[in-house]
Symmetry: C2
Subunit: 137 residues, 2 copies
DNA sequence: GTAGCTGCAAACTCTTTGCAACTCT
DNA sequence: AGAGTTGCAAAGAGTTTGCAGCTAC
């Protein structure tokens, strides 16, 4: 998602476009990984040294509630975030911590089928694979 | 899994079978839900009022490392546990917090296929569906 | 002007840990 | 006897919040 679209989505939701929010949206739109609050804070500080962790927490929680951002709890003690664009899942390398994104249509169909069988309407779901890279030899 | 098997698995791993551990294994084998540390502590206290939270934390972490127990982080601020028996997944009712277990062979096959395509050997995975019960009308 | 936002520091929640006393084996 | 385990209380990590001042609208 482009920076402009993000800012518009926020304004539309009635949020004031403060300098700190612009900074954070900028950081998010430039990030291609899954940064933690700490990492977002460090990146934001590069553009605006006065920004605080509290603002990063508050902003990310708002963006999560607005659905602009996805919050992940991989098996770590803290959360990671990414822009909520195309729907995808994650393969987490248990040795390096690398996160690989993937999509899978079969999976999408299957999860709907399972929910239906259980009598539920799906609101959200998570699929995380944890693995070890196979060495070619 | 039966209580005896659990105790044997622990002894085999070199753990001393203390009263507190027996109590906790008993609580686990009688629980049919996905209790939190707090809940396990309350249930254990009913049998042994002197047990401490620290012991519950330490014991559950050990059982998790031994693979006798599964630790889940549903979208809450704390962990839930269950005996690691048959492999299954969870549908979490977003309105009531109810957790429904399900198994799905297609899913199992699919996740292996995806991992293989990505060049990974699967170590673990999570699939959680979050949904709202469909009212019949 | 004012509702909303910010930084700061304190508070909170969940979890882990150091330690001296205790207990299985 | 001795290593492992326990309860307690304190510490730790991550996150949230009350408040006084500031800022976008």
């Amino acid at each position: 998602m482009k920076l402009n679209e993000l800012e518009q989505a926020c304004s539309k939701a009635g949020l004031k476009m403060t300098g700190q929010r612009k900074t954070l949206l900028g950081v998010l739109s430039e990030s291609e990984d899954h940064p933690s609050i700490e990492e977002l804070y460090e990146r934001a500080k590069a553009a605006d040294p006065s920004i605080s962790m509290a603002t990063v927490y508050r902003t990310m929680n708002m963006l999560d509630e607005l659905g602009l951002v996805m919050k992940h709890e991989f098996k770590e003690s803290f959360a990671r975030f990414e822009l909520n664009t195309d729907h995808h899942h994650h393969m987490i390398d248990v040795e390096t911590g690398d996160v690989i994104e993937f999509q899978n249509a079969e999976m999408e169909a299957l999860k709907e089928k399972i929910a239906e069988e259980l009598g539920y309407e799906l609101v959200d779901h998570t699929l995380e694979l944890y693995g070890r890279k196979i060495k070619k030899g």
